[in-house]
Symmetry: C2
Subunit: 409 residues, 2 copies
């Protein structure tokens, strides 16, 4: 028999329910009671299974929602993403706690810590990711040319979009910072004839990427280096980094700027940063930082402009916000992850499965509501002549004319 709910906890539940009411989310306590008085029917129900969970949700919701969900003392009835989306809309502005924490010193991502952080997430086992990512193992926001594209098509379209935005030409040299399982580097070599040097500190990912390059006969064009982006040496035509900046951490933006500045040819170089960002400064959700991405921080565009691009003397040429594409990508991942629910529970644990389920659904909600953004930023050294006259050629398939500027002056 469930313990009864005392006076104090009834009061607390009332307060929490009041906060949730604008989202039309119902609260239910461990004795089955509910103080819900909002619109009928509610879009979903949070089932709080004990007093400790209730107190946690009030005292530290950003951390405890995830913790309690993960360990099963918080259940969600109704569609998880919709409930999270509704709750996310309630808290589009940072809380006071979050504002204060922005001014506290954060642990820097030293080389050792960076490796450990990456290992935490990306070395879970290649077959874990193989079982729910697209066939090319692209673990970043896809680009849906039309909303009905499959995830496979949309990831290929994303890689093409990146190459087209960069006006990548045959024979050009590329350095990639944070290459995942190597899909983009291989795509640049295969489809665009580029020569790519790709860095990643995840041993599992680099091993996989190298095997793939060998299998495709691309080892002469693509070199996978198991090392930190800060070890990049040499000069390249193109710098690209997709989904790494979120892991770099504000305190290391200066190092990234130094790498970009020395790695990119000043006269004709250009680069692209693809990263999860924010409209306003705000720390990453506390639970995501604890369980999913230690050391993670999604920057604002202004932070990237002033702390990375300006110190590297880069000029911003193009910015696109693809947040809805990430919401859709995450919806695909969430559906695929649900299919392998049983295997994940068996191989890892129920807590692990619930943590990942929440992480995927919560991220989808955050991108759908605009709590998170996805920025693609194209830049070039301040003194370089931009490589194109308009963006039309990205979309209409026309060939870029390298000499347009000289020819038409």
């Amino acid at each position: 028999m469930a313990p009864t709910v005392g006076w104090l906890h009834h009061r607390l539940a009332g307060i929490l329910q009041q906060t949730l009411r604008p989202a039309a989310v119902r609260l239910e306590l461990w004795d089955g009671g509910s103080p819900y008085t909002g619109p009928e029917p509610p879009i979903g129900t949070l089932v709080v299974k004990d007093a400790r969970t209730l107190r946690g949700l009030i005292a530290n919701p950003h951390l405890q929602f995830g913790e309690c969900y993960m360990f099963g003392t918080l259940e969600v009835r109704g569609q998880l993403e919709s409930v999270l989306e509704a709750i996310s809309r309630l808290s589009l502005a940072p809380s006071w706690g979050e504002r204060i924490s922005m001014h506290l010193p954060a642990p820097g991502n030293t080389l050792t810590r960076a490796r450990r952080n990456v290992h935490h997430h990306y070395d879970l086992g290649n077959d874990f990711y193989t079982s729910w990512l697209d066939e090319q193992l692209v673990y970043t926001c896809a680009y849906f040319e039309d909303p009905h594209q499959s995830l496979e098509e949309a990831q290929a379209a994303k890689m093409d979009l990146v190459c087209r935005k960069l006006r990548l030409q045959p024979g050009e040299t590329v350095v990639e910072a944070g290459c995942g399982w190597g899909a983009l580097a291989l795509h640049m070599a295969r489809a665009y004839g580029a020569r790519v040097k790709a860095f990643n500190v995840s041993h599992e990912q680099i091993t996989y990427a190298r095997a793939r390059a060998a299998r495709e006969g691309l080892t002469s064009q693509v070199e996978f280096v198991e090392d930190d982006y800060r070890s990049v040496r040499g000069e390249y035509d193109v710098f690209v980094s997709v989904g790494m900046l979120e892991h770099v951490g504000l305190t290391h933006y200066g190092s990234l700027a130094a790498v970009m500045s020395r790695a990119l040819r000043r006269a004709n170089g250009r680069g692209l940063l693809h990263f999860i960002g924010r409209d306003i400064r705000r720390p990453l959700n506390a639970w995501i930082r604890r369980r999913i991405f230690p050391g993670g921080y999604p920057p604002t565009l202004a932070e990237v402009a002033t702390r990375v691009l300006a110190p590297a003397r880069m000029s911003i040429l193009d910015v696109e916000n693809l947040r809805l594409h990430y919401a859709r990508t995450l919806a695909h991942w969430g559906r695929r992850f649900a299919v392998i629910e049983e295997q994940v529970r068996t191989r890892y644990s129920e807590e692990f499965r619930r943590a990942w389920e929440l992480y995927l659904a919560g991220s989808e909600a955050a991108f759908a509501t605009g709590s998170l953004q996805l920025f693609q930023v194209v830049f070039a050294p301040a003194e370089a002549v931009p490589h194109s006259w308009t963006r039309a050629e990205i979309y209409n398939g026309a060939k870029a004319d390298d000499d347009w500027y000289a020819a038409t002056r």
Copy 2:
């Protein structure tokens, strides 16, 4: 007979020539002497006609280059834009004086001062601008779909680009802050069926715009208001401002944010800011501020993001840097201005003509070298669902599908 050049001024000329040598610009003094030892032939020559000009160019080049050119004690032999471009490349980084001046309090653009600043430049007489601008009197960066378009075509293309980026629909309401002679407001009404309220503090411009609206039978769709943007009231679907932000001044970005925040419908609104900007913080050239644009300041993208868009709770959706389009626009203006040289001299003065010649050529050089940028920023309220899935429809002429998001979730 010209006075001879003494030992001190020979020394000073040597120092100045050393600075100019990397630009392959030759210095010639009032006695015909030249300390030039750079590559032959040089791309152009600065002819310094007296000792005061020489000292001015060394002590305060940012101001005195313009002053001396304007008053004729500094001549440029060779193509003016090319010489200015070469000199501009020498000083892509801000000088110490400029860095310091960024931290000095600047006079704020109060309502009175804003009117006076605008009057200084924009009320020179409509026939002055009519004689060298395009036929629609668009005095902002054009958009050349291909580099061979005429200025008229490119200004029409720019207005279309703005409307397409905004996904402007028939019947929607627009508020425009700083409408010049009304071309964009009338275009939005005529070609897109929008209802526009357009603000401008220049009496001459508003009078002209009203007459044009009447002539075209668009007075029921477009209202021209002779008032400051801070007087905007009511709610609109679209906020647009092309070429005004440069005149607003950093200290008033908060007021602009407040206007945008209250003027834009939160659920489905969106806006576009088109402005001259910088890669790094740097004041506007001192001479341009004195003679051409009092109170002008070209902000960085980060300044606009943190001081205008974030306080207005707007999310950045799209940024395009069109600096080369402005270089080309200015080249068109410069050629047209040269044709009416004689009339300008007669109606105004030789100093006025030289000031404008230098302003147009110097601005062309600044955009060509990347000392100035031109940013178009599309944004929407943080909680609004973006109006489009990709940017392709801007370029391929396809119709935007308003219901794409709902339909495909």
